[in-house]
């Protein structure tokens, strides 16, 4: 457990000090919600539940994208620099390395996502008179579902970045992102609660996110060190 904390702590420390990644993340986290907030404000006619549903949907997408952005620093950089090889020679198992890195990626990604949600809510509030603070499901969504999906995004993409070569990663990075977005939309559509905030939809999203984390963890268990070493550029 100690090594998990060591790895996660280092990744958080590095992520927050990577100016390029932080600036990219902040630009996306601020620009995208502001633009979306204008659309939410215009399309919901002051319906508090609809506004909260729009903010929740944006937060989830931003969370998934943040997981992808911060992943490149934790997994891909380590591979590009070749330092992953040294890490694999430590007494820490590959799965534990992945777990530490995934959480190390997810923490800053989640913090930026929360900031993005606050900005979205503030922008919508400024444009409408809707009382967003009265929607408890939005808090549940931001506190439970979003972090699960941030971890799922970081874990899944991280596992792929460990297993695949640099070129495949460049191609598949966006495929994963669009796959995640498609999955979220599809889950909301098929959920008994339907799109928007509902207990049932939140439960479906949370369960699907946990299943994705478990699947990513399973995949990492199947990735060999040889596979990682041989895909180092």
């Amino acid at each position: 457990m100690k090594t998990f904390g060591v790895i996660a702590g280092r990744e958080i420390w590095l992520a927050l000090r990577n100016r390029g990644v932080v600036i990219t993340a902040l630009i996306f986290a601020l620009w995208f919600p502001v633009m979306s907030a204008v659309g939410i404000a215009a399309g919901t006619d002051g319906d508090a539940a609809a506004v909260a549903g729009g903010i929740a949907a944006i937060a989830l997408l931003v969370g998934v994208f943040m997981g992808y952005i911060f992943c490149s620093d934790a997994f891909l950089r380590e591979k590009r620099d070749g330092t992953i090889e040294t890490l694999l020679c430590t007494p820490v198992s590959l799965r534990r390395i992945w777990e530490g890195k995934t959480v190390g990626v997810a923490v800053p990604a989640y913090l930026v996502t929360l900031l993005s949600a606050v900005v979205t809510a503030a922008t919508v509030s400024a444009l409408t008179d809707v009382a967003i603070a009265t929607e408890p499901l939005l808090y549940l969504h931001l506190a439970v579902v979003v972090p699960i999906w941030v971890v799922a995004s970081a874990g899944f993409i991280g596992a792929a970045q460990l297993a695949l070569g640099m070129r495949e990663n460049q191609i598949l990075g966006f495929v994963f992102i669009f796959g995640f977005i498609f999955l979220i939309v599809a889950l909301q559509e098929v959920s008994p609660g339907g799109p928007g905030l509902s207990v049932m939809t939140e439960a479906v999203l949370a369960a699907a996110g946990i299943a994705l984390v478990a699947l990513a963890r399973f995949i990492v268990g199947k990735v060999t060190k040889e596979r990682i070493v041989r895909t180092i550029p």
Partner: protein, 386 residues
């Protein structure tokens, strides 16, 4: 497998690899503590034909067993038996075997692309062998997470983050290895590698030599019993190379570590190694203590130049029957490099050859440089010895 009559492996030698087909295996007698050491230098094809015709074969090859006896595992820090590995159908390592004893500085020599780094990766469990067995401290590091805590490694990239300070890099690995009292250990190591005044500077601002020294500090941070150094002086200026060499020597003495040194720098290996293996064409071409390899030991090498090339086979047979000759390596059509078990046996060797009716042109005591041995190994690999 072919061997000179009278030259047999010392009893108790673990089953090891035979020479490649068409090679003359030279089994040097070695004291029990030096067993497992051998040279495998191929002969030119025409000579192979002549020699094999005149000498008895030892019989059909027996199946090779790569199990490592417990006694050997306890004695050796690194064991490699019958290791083979290929990539996309191209053989990189073919039946490679060697051992490294505890406390040795082992020089693993070979040209670029010979498979040195592949060997290290297999030893560290990063790559899987196609065949053979490897053990480090008696363990298979591919499956034994805990055993990896007893091993240190320095790859070419040093394993450092450019965006962290020297001290933070070491602290990170100290956390992964569970180093007790890490602050004190980090201070000691930064002093050892001369980077105390740069402890809080980002590694990205360091020179290549400084990074390499910090990389060595990282590799030995957890006081490993065996440390693998992959081309530790590669890309360094002569001054930095010397610094790193001195550091390695200091480590092996002070921290009593077994050092596995991957290199293609002959000078470096000759200066700091106690034993050497030469890898070329995917095979081990020579493997022995540095002293024995270069003839600088109490078993001198005598080069006999024959007056008549036709006497060569007869000379081989005569020498094979001499107890005071530990081994014989035919170096050309008229040359025989004989390793003497008794340093004062040169007159006896001459007398035996003359007594057998062999005409001798010259007898010269010689010691070969590591460079000569290395180049000979490369030539033998190029000549189809692989």
């Amino acid at each position: 497998m072919w061997s000179l009559p009278g030259f047999t492996a010392p009893s108790g030698e673990p089953p090891g690899p035979g020479p490649s087909p068409g090679t003359l295996r030279f089994l040097a007698w070695v004291p029990p503590a030096r067993k497992n050491r051998w040279l495998d230098i191929p002969l030119p094809k025409t000579e192979i034909h002549d020699t094999t015709r005149s000498c008895a074969r030892t019989g059909p090859e027996t199946p090779r067993h790569h199990a490592i006896p417990a006694e050997a595992a306890a004695m050796n820090a690194v064991e490699v038996r019958g290791l083979s590995r290929s990539f996309e159908g191209r053989a990189v390592l073919s039946d490679v075997s060697f051992t490294v004893r505890h406390g040795e500085v082992f020089g693993y020599l070979g040209p670029n692309g010979a498979g040195k780094t592949t060997t290290i990766r297999i030893l560290l469990g990063l790559l899987a062998p196609d065949a053979g067995v490897v053990r480090v401290l008696g363990r298979d590091l591919a499956v034994d997470d805990a055993a990896r805590a007893r091993v240190g490694v320095l790859f070419e990239n040093n394993g450092l983050s450019d965006r962290m300070s020297a001290a933070a890099n070491l602290a990170y690995y100290a956390g992964l290895y569970g180093v007790p009292d890490p602050a004190e250990r980090i201070d000691d190591l930064l002093t050892l590698v001369g980077l105390t005044d740069r402890r809080d500077d980002l590694v990205g601002t360091f020179s290549t030599g400084m990074k390499r020294r910090l990389g060595i500090a990282r590799a030995i941070l957890h006081r490993p019993e065996v440390v693998f150094l992959d081309e530790p002086t590669s890309g360094l200026d002569p001054g930095a190379q010397r610094m790193v060499r001195d550091l390695i020597l200091d480590l092996s003495r002070r921290e009593e570590m077994t050092v596995f040194l991957n290199s293609h720098h002959l000078d470096e290996v000759q200066r700091i190694s106690t034993s050497v293996a030469i890898l070329a064409g995917g095979r081990i071409r020579a493997f022995d203590s540095l002293e024995n390899l270069t003839g600088a030991s109490d078993r001198p090498t005598v080069t006999v130049t024959l007056a008549d090339p036709d006497d060569r086979v007869r000379a081989c047979e005569t020498i094979a029957g001499l107890a005071f000759v530990a081994g014989c390596d035919p170096g050309g059509s008229t040359l025989l490099h004989c390793t003497l078990a008794d340093p004062g046996a040169t007159p006896d060797l001459i007398a035996a050859l003359v007594g057998a009716g062999i005409r001798i042109e010259e007898v010269r005591r010689s010691s070969r440089s590591l460079e000569e041995i290395y180049l000979e190994a490369l030539r033998s690999a190029e000549g189809g010895g692989a």
